[in-house]
């Protein structure tokens, strides 16, 4: 079935310029994205798992055209976002919205909930006040809050409720794609479950496709059909979520899965005691210094994403575990 992907990311590169170590010396650069490509099909939520330094937050921002990449293309429903004019880009934003990690920082403390939730509509213009109020009420009810909550301020709500407000804001333009950057990390366990159930329901009932970015495998596994694992700015493994977590092909994915504390399984693998070594710079696999399966080829030649264990999975490893 050839469907045009909802979101198509091709060869993204991004490096941040740091200050110069000495005057007239070249700027130091911190690479954030080192050639990232993937596609999201409408209706099939996509997860990105990575730790700090993986580039996942940079990826989220570029996917939403909040930051420009140094190279690469981002296409939403076939249209390249960075080629659009300002007005067209603003209109395109109606189809892609964002939920952040921090429910305390993502809502303006000086605005009432109604204005916060209606903000994406304000950018589009056109809706009358009555229409806006109605849509805000619908959005709030869809996330399990009450229409009367629109008159309150953020500080009157708990963390979990604020996150719902943020979700209501993301939904009001009826977007096709919602990028969620660590949407439940700041919530208590008992409240996380509510937010995750809400996201599952929205997937099913409102036809929302999520691009879910998290360090928590369990959260990603709950919502996403396909997952990509990122390490130091590159995708090291990508494939159907359940298979990936059950038998990871890339050693880093394996390390992640083993390190995730689980109740349903006692830890069979003893984690290493030593501190994480600094990553390799230059040629070779970035994970090699820390990889317990590393061989000489790994330090010399950088592996590309190649198919492993069937067509649907790919891993960037010379000696995949599967």
């Amino acid at each position: 079935m050839s469907e045009a992907p909802l979101l198509d990311i091709v060869d993204l590169f991004k490096a941040y310029r740091l200050h110069r170590p000495r005057p007239f010396a070249p700027h130091r650069v911190r690479p954030a994205l080192n050639g990232v490509s993937f596609s999201i099909i409408a209706g099939r939520s996509f997860g990105i798992v990575g730790e700090s330094g993986s580039g996942k937050s940079t990826l989220a921002r570029i996917a939403l055209a909040l930051d420009k990449p140094d190279a690469g293309v981002v296409r939403l429903e076939g249209r390249s976002l960075f080629d659009l004019g300002r007005r067209e880009l603003r209109a395109a934003r109606a189809h892609m919205q964002l939920i952040f990690q921090d429910p305390y920082g993502s809502l303006d403390p000086r605005m009432r909930v109604e204005r916060i939730v209606a903000e994406p509509l304000a950018a589009l213009g056109g809706a009358s006040r009555a229409e806006r109020r109605r849509r805000v009420a619908d959005s709030l009810e869809a996330v399990g809050l009450r229409a009367s909550d629109a008159a309150k301020y953020p500080h009157e709500f708990s963390g979990g409720q604020r996150q719902r407000v943020a979700i209501a804001r993301a939904l009001i333009t009826r977007p096709k794609l919602v990028v969620a950057d660590e949407p439940v990390s700041a919530l208590d366990v008992s409240v996380q479950a509510q937010a995750l159930n809400l996201m599952s329901d929205l997937q099913r009932d409102a036809g929302v496709t999520f691009l879910l970015i998290s360090h928590d495998l369990a959260v990603v596994a709950h919502i996403c059909e396909t997952t990509a694992v990122m390490f130091r700015g590159r995708i090291v493994e990508i494939g159907p979520t359940a298979e990936l977590f059950a038998s990871p092909a890339h050693p880093y994915a394996r390390e992640l899965v083993d390190a995730t504390p689980r109740l349903d399984r006692s830890t069979t693998v003893a984690p290493p005691l030593n501190a994480t070594p600094a990553p390799a710079s230059g040629a070779g696999c970035a994970y090699a210094p820390r990889c317990r399966y590393a061989r000489p080829r790994c330090l010399a030649e950088r592996p590309e994403l190649t198919a492993v264990a069937g067509e649907t999975r790919r891993a960037a490893c010379h000696f995949p575990l599967v």
Binding site: L89, R93, Q97, D102, L107, R110, Y153, R169
Partner: protein
């Protein structure tokens, strides 16, 4: 702004003094015991009495009327000079915070440049070049205010722009002007208000200094600074003539500073308590 529940005593004292200052200025338009400029040589240097509550100065003018009249000039200078500072300072500060890069650096360097000149010195240069008078004094003091407000605006605007809700607004498709008005300004308003009261006090002091030097309000317009200068000549005979305007200046400045402190306590922790 939700309820002021716990206002410090600074706030109340400062508010009272500032209110008195404003009341005097307003009163000066309606009534003063005598016309402030009315010269009455036979009754010069009279001590305080029922007819003249603070006595008269070396030209027989009623001191009480001059004090009340002088309040008008102080308020005028304060309001307009701070107003100039706010309008241009906000504009430059917001421009710097949003544009970033070379624009931000240039604006900040320009502010540093203006800072390098002691404000009073620049005011003296301006007024001696373009002539003395209230208008020029206002312009000079106003220009000195701009970099202060601009730097504060840039710093606070940057901290707001770093918050996630500003990013959310961008993700929603709002442009920089919308973000500036809807998100940045309401969230930086508390710090700006506090700074404005401080700048007001400084403006009053600056005007008094300029008038003392003869570069501010010109006779027959009453001015506390000029009263101080006039009092110098008769300081041994009638020191009270220096005390009245001096006290007026000091109390006004004190009142505004206390009001600023009180406002800072009332406004800022509320923000922290909320989020």
């Amino acid at each position: 702004m939700k309820g002021f529940s716990r206002k410090s005593s600074s706030f109340w004292v400062g508010a009272a003094l500032t209110a008195a200052l404003l009341a005097m200025a307003a009163l000066s338009y309606l009534w003063t015991p005598y016309p402030p400029a009315a010269i009455d040589i036979p009754h010069k240097l009279a001590p305080p009495s029922l007819a003249h509550w603070f006595g008269t100065d070396n030209l027989g003018r009623d001191v009480a009327s001059e004090i009340i009249g002088g309040a008008r000039v102080s308020i005028l200078v304060g309001v307009v000079a701070v107003g100039i500072g706010l309008v241009f300072g906000l504009a430059f500060g917001l421009l710097a915070a949003f544009a970033k890069g070379v624009v931000e650096d240039s604006i900040m360097k320009a502010c540093d440049f203006v800072f390098a000149f002691p404000a009073l010195l620049s005011a003296i240069m301006l007024t001696s070049t373009f002539g003395p008078g209230v208008v020029n004094a206002i312009v000079a003091i106003g220009i000195a205010n701009v970099p202060i407000i601009a730097k504060l605006t840039r710093a606070t605007a940057n901290s707001v722009l770093a918050r996630e809700y500003a990013l959310a607004a961008r993700a929603a498709g709002r442009g920089p002007l919308a973000i500036a008005f809807d998100h940045v300004l309401p969230n930086i308003a508390p710090q700006l208000i506090v700074q404005a009261t401080i700048q007001f006090a400084i403006a009053i002091l600056a005007e008094a200094a300029l008038s003392y030097l003869g570069l501010g309000a010109q006779p027959p317009q009453p001015s506390w600074g000029r009263m101080l200068s006039d009092a110098q000549n008769v300081l041994y005979n009638a020191p009270r003539l220096a005390i009245y305007p001096g006290a007026a200046i000091a109390l006004s400045v004190l009142g505004l500073n206390l009001l600023g402190d009180g406002l800072r306590d009332a406004l800022d922790p509320k923000l922290k308590a909320r989020s």
